[in-house]
């Protein structure tokens, strides 16, 4: 099971090799998320409308390795945008993937850009 975690690696904007055209912006609820499939990866994408920002991270909860984060609620903790895992409400920073209310491994995050109302996710491969 741990193997699956290794497939997800944080990608920095400068390392993006592929901008994957995921879906139309209207596919994502305002201030909520949905899941995108890229190759054999599951990526959670969040439309943080209140901040006018988009975020992407692994859909995999690092706690029990279930594909659920895109179904989590988003919000902020002391100004840090976060997502709460729907299973046990573990929260993760959408900026750097850090577990804000525990000591789980950080989740991988990916750059997002919007062009012509389409959501693109940046991958290094």
């Amino acid at each position: 099971m741990q193997e699956i975690l290794k497939k997800y690696k944080t990608t920095k904007p400068e390392d993006v090799q592929v901008w994957f055209k995921a879906a139309h912006t209207s596919s994502f609820p305002k201030d909520g998320g949905a899941c995108v499939k890229y190759k054999d990866l599951q990526i959670a994408v969040f439309n943080f409308d209140r901040l006018q920002k988009w975020y992407a991270c692994q859909n995999l909860s690092p706690e029990k390795q279930e594909m659920v984060l895109s179904r989590g609620m988003i919000g902020d903790h002391n100004g840090i945008p976060k997502v709460a895992c729907p299973l046990h409400k573990k929260t993760f920073s959408l900026e750097n993937g850090e577990n804000l209310n525990g000591d789980l491994e950080p989740i991988a995050t990916y750059p997002v850009k919007i062009e012509d109302d389409f959501v693109y996710i940046g991958f290094s491969e």
Partner: protein
């Protein structure tokens, strides 16, 4: 064993240019020897050594190898008797096997170390393998002492030490009980461990007998009077106690049938557990000629070093100050000293006097002793409080000048132990009349100083050596903001847990001293309470989360606490379903289903009152079969279909709806079920139609959102087959009408509902219930069940009656009208969802693919399926 590291040296390509302009590098392996520490013994203290060692600076330069002879990693032997309650060896583990690997510790279990070769610094194991060490730590602990009684080798005689011992006892007891359900078992030894073993025997369903050589129980910790109080208490819960008994022989042919004390003094028992003390496991020390105590134990100095400076001994095998310490706390201190010493911190030394104070719960009875429990009259005065009718005994020993506490004993109620123990340790001043320290509150007792009066160096958690200063400091520095934070950053309370109440008090007092109040606000985004928000939304007629947050929030963007709360309030106030603004709904409400541990969902259609036609039952079965769902009857006697993927949910619901089902709201903080018994419809005892009324009530309140879930029950007579008094609202049919009970629940804190009104008719029941539920929905805190709400309601049940029956606040007309609106505007949210393509969009696992989650793995179980177990 590879204890070398490779040092790579790369040469400059200009220097070593060869053909084709390629270059190569030379790898030189230089031996930088890592030192090896071998720990012999993987019990609680051996484990603690590892934990402390790897947490210290410099430990990375050491290779740590740990040997355990038992077939499993270290477990919590102190709580061994819990194994009988759950038979879950994993739950007792100090740390899982992976922990050792994660910390680069090589754990070798099921392999005993059989010899030490001091001159070559090597050990040999029972499997004839050899390992070299630089430092050796002996943490072999102790074994049960079995006195040389004739016949002690017979079948059915056990010792009480390891999980394997317990498993052996369990097997044997099960066979005994098959033959003779009233079988008796004895425990030899009435000390601390013996009484624990007595509990184990009792839990196995055997008739328990304790046999003690001394004239009293727990002779090492208790004086005669406290021992008598303990004995009375234990006898009252079914233990048979035999004191002053010297066992001559064990009777029986092959297996034990009895114990013989004197010539005609025989106790018939079919099983015996020997718990007559411990002996250090010091044979390794003996065979390699370390200095030993006269009566066993490996002699150590205050650095925990044995007579060989490379060999350390800690825990129950170590003889320090001519004593073997059989408690966890000193063992942990020894582990700390040995770990520090090996890593070069020579200032870490074992204290010269060791606090042997203990507090434990023995078979549900508090027993504690601290300091000097028995004290000769020449050293001080004793103050004793005894109440045999309540099995209470408290004794404190006070210095001759009456200024200091020297020790004491508590039996029956040890809630004051932490404070008394601290007063003793820190030599704090005591009241002029020391009796105040042990008298029951109200009789001039309980005049303790504040926990904050303790000096900063007072050790609050002796297992983890955490002082008051560290606990308060964690909060003052901002490192921790609540109890959970304090525990995680100081580790206080993670050992035996005895200090938890004091840690809690200190946490709360420190927070208070910093002016931090436990806020009524629902989360960091609102300083308002749920009730405040309710009124604001109602008055200002807000309809979206952002309106509420922008106008009344603290400037943030919401979170998983306030979003679902506002969603619930909107639903209560505007009769919205969870389909409106689904991104702020709690995760279950968002998908109108209950998320299960692998991210799939369970589906529960409403079956009002539990009444269902055969056709509907067949439909449920066929749908479950079609989608391969695991099927179970729920605790609320409905039918739950598990394992539906997100994509399947609307497909399943379309079929359910076509068969006349509607949402059961099992996922919502809303009405779940109204459980009914069969009532006068069929039952020969029934007083009224409980099913009909249950269905009416369930249909009336279905779908309304509340602070927490609501359950109801209707019983047709006082036999109460619907368990209505365990529900938020319950009805019991009696002569002349219904008795209405309010505010019950099961859950973590079970509470019976309270009788609110008697012999009322159906209309009155509905009138009162409308008012009650609406009043609860208006005023409760987030996620507060009716039971907790009602309990904290100022004025209690009488006040509730005044509001609901007598209309003291003049609000019942509003309450009724609000409820009527909710009832009239009910709509099945699943029907809404499947009929609206826009609402259906959320039920796709991917936004860019029709595929399902490929990470799901199910395994078969009892002809159905379940998610693969978590690691």
């Amino acid at each position: 064993m590879n204890s070398t590291t490779k040092l790579r040296v790369y040469f400059d390509k200009n220097t070593y240019k060869i053909r084709n302009s390629t270059y190569f590098c030379i790898v030189i392996t230089k031996t930088v020897r890592m030192k090896t520490v071998i720990v012999v013994g993987n019990g609680m203290v051996g484990y603690k050594f590892c934990e402390k060692f790897v947490a210290k600076e410099g430990s990375k330069n050491f290779k740590l190898i740990v040997f355990g002879e038992e077939p499993r990693p270290a477990y919590d032997r102190v709580h061994l008797s819990e194994f009988f309650e759950n038979q879950d060896a994993k739950a007792l583990e100090m740390a899982p096997a992976e922990w050792y690997a994660e910390n680069n510790i090589e754990l070798i279990i099921d392999e005993r170390v059989s010899d030490i070769h001091r001159s070559s610094k090597k050990i040999t194991t029972a499997k004839n393998r050899e390992f070299s060490y630089d430092y050796l730590v002996l943490a072999t602990g102790s074994s049960a002492f079995v006195p040389p009684i004739k016949g002690v080798e017979k079948k059915g005689v056990f010792v009480y030490r390891t999980i394997e011992d317990l498993e052996g006892m369990l097997d044997y007891a099960a066979k005994l009980k098959e033959k003779n359900p009233g079988a008796r078992a004895a425990v030899l030894g009435g000390g601390l461990l013996g009484l624990e073993a007595g509990k184990a025997v009792m839990d196995m369903g055997l008739e328990p007998h304790i046999v003690e050589f001394a004239p009293k129980l727990m002779p090492r910790q208790l004086d005669s009077r406290s021992s008598q109080v303990l004995q009375l208490k234990l006898e009252s819960i079914g233990l048979n106690i035999h004191l002053s008994k010297a066992t001559n022989q064990i009777l029986g042919e092959d297996a034990i049938t009895g114990m013989e004390f004197g010539e005609d003094d025989i106790l018939d028992v079919e099983m015996l557990v020997v718990s007559a003390g411990i002996r250090p496991r010091d044979e390794l020390g003996k065979t390699c000629d370390l200095e030993m105590g006269v009566r066993g134990g490996i002699v150590v100095n205050n650095q925990m070093q044995t007579s060989d400076e490379s060999i350390y001994a800690i825990g129950e095998v170590a003889l320090y100050n001519q004593m073997i310490y059989g408690l966890v706390a000193p063992g942990y201190d020894m582990a700390e000293v040995a770990a520090s010493q090996i890593l070069g911190d020579t200032n870490s030394l074992m204290a010269s006097t060791i606090d042997m104070s203990t507090k434990l719960k023995l078979i549900g009875v508090d027993v504690a002793s601290f300091g000097e429990p028995f004290m000769p009259a020449s050293k001080g005065h004793s103050v004793i409080f005894e109440n045999k009718t309540q099995h209470l005994y408290k004794r404190i020993n006070v210095s001759l000048d009456g200024k200091k506490l020297l020790g004491g004993i508590l039996v029956g109620d040890a809630s004051d132990y932490s404070m008394l123990h601290q007063m003793f340790l820190n030599e704090m001043a005591i009241p002029e009349d020391p009796a105040q320290l042990i008298l029951p509150a109200g009789d001039g007792g309980a005049s303790f100083g504040d926990v904050m009066d303790l000096p900063d160096e007072a050790q609050v958690c002796s297992c983890e050596s955490v002082t008051k200063g560290q606990i308060c400091g964690a909060i003052e520095s901002g490192e921790a903001t609540d109890l959970a934070g304090v525990v995680s950053c100081t580790k206080a309370g993670t050992g035996c847990g005895g200090c938890k109440p004091m840690v809690k008090d200190l946490t709360e007092a420190t927070l208070k001293s910093l002016g931090i109040e436990v806020k009524e606000g629902v989360c960091e985004h609102f300083d308002l309470s749920r009730q405040d928000l309710y009124q604001i939304i109602q008055v200002k007629e807000y309809t979206s989360f952002n309106e509420v947050l922008d106008n009344h929030g603290n400037g943030g963007h919401g979170c998983e606490l306030c979003k679902p709360l506002v969603a619930s309030l909107m639903a209560t106030i505007h009769a919205d379903t969870a389909n409106k603004e689904y991104a702020i709904q709690d995760s279950n409400d968002r998908y109108l289903a209950n998320i299960q541990r692998n991210g799939t969902y369970s589906v529960v259609p409403r079956i009002p009152g539990g009444e269902i036609t055969p056709d509907k039952l067949i439909a449920l079965g066929e749908i479950a079969k079609k989608y391969d769902l695991y099927t179970k009857v729920t605790g609320g006697v409905r039918i739950d279909l598990f394992g539906a993927t997100l994509n399947q949910l609307p497909l399943i619901w379309k079929e359910l709806i076509s068969h006349g089902f509607e949402s059961g709201h099992a996922y919502g903080k809303s009405l779940r079920t109204v459980k009914t018994c069969v009532g006068s419809t069929w039952c020969r005892y029934g007083m009224d139609e409980s099913i009909s009324f249950g269905i009416e009530l369930e249909n009336r309140y279905r779908g309304i959102r509340a602070p927490h879930k609501i359950k109801g029950g209707v019983s047709g007579c006082i036999r109460e087959c619907a368990e209505a008094r365990g529900k938020d609202f319950g009805l019991i049919a009696v002569e002349g009408g219904w008795n209405l009970y309010l505010g019950g629940n099961g859950g973590a804190t079970p509470r019976h509902a309270e009788l609110f009104a008697e012999q009322i008719d159906n209309e009155t029941v509905i009138k009162y219930l409308d008012r009650y539920l609406m009043f609860y929905m208006r005023t409760a805190k987030p996620l507060q069940r009716t039971a907790a709400w009602q309990e904290r309601l100022e004025g209690g049940l009488d006040y509730l009656k005044e509001v609901i029956i007598d209309d003291k606040l003049g609000i019942v007309a509003d309450l009724e009208q609000e409820m009527e609106t909710l009832v009239n505007r009910f709509e099945c949210e699943w029907t809404q969802a499947v009929n609206d393509p826009e609402k259906m969009k959320r039920f796709n696992h991917f936004v860019n693919s029709e595929e399902e989650d490929d990470n799901l793995v199910f395994v078969p179980m009892r002809d159905q399926k379940m998610p693969e177990p978590w690691n």
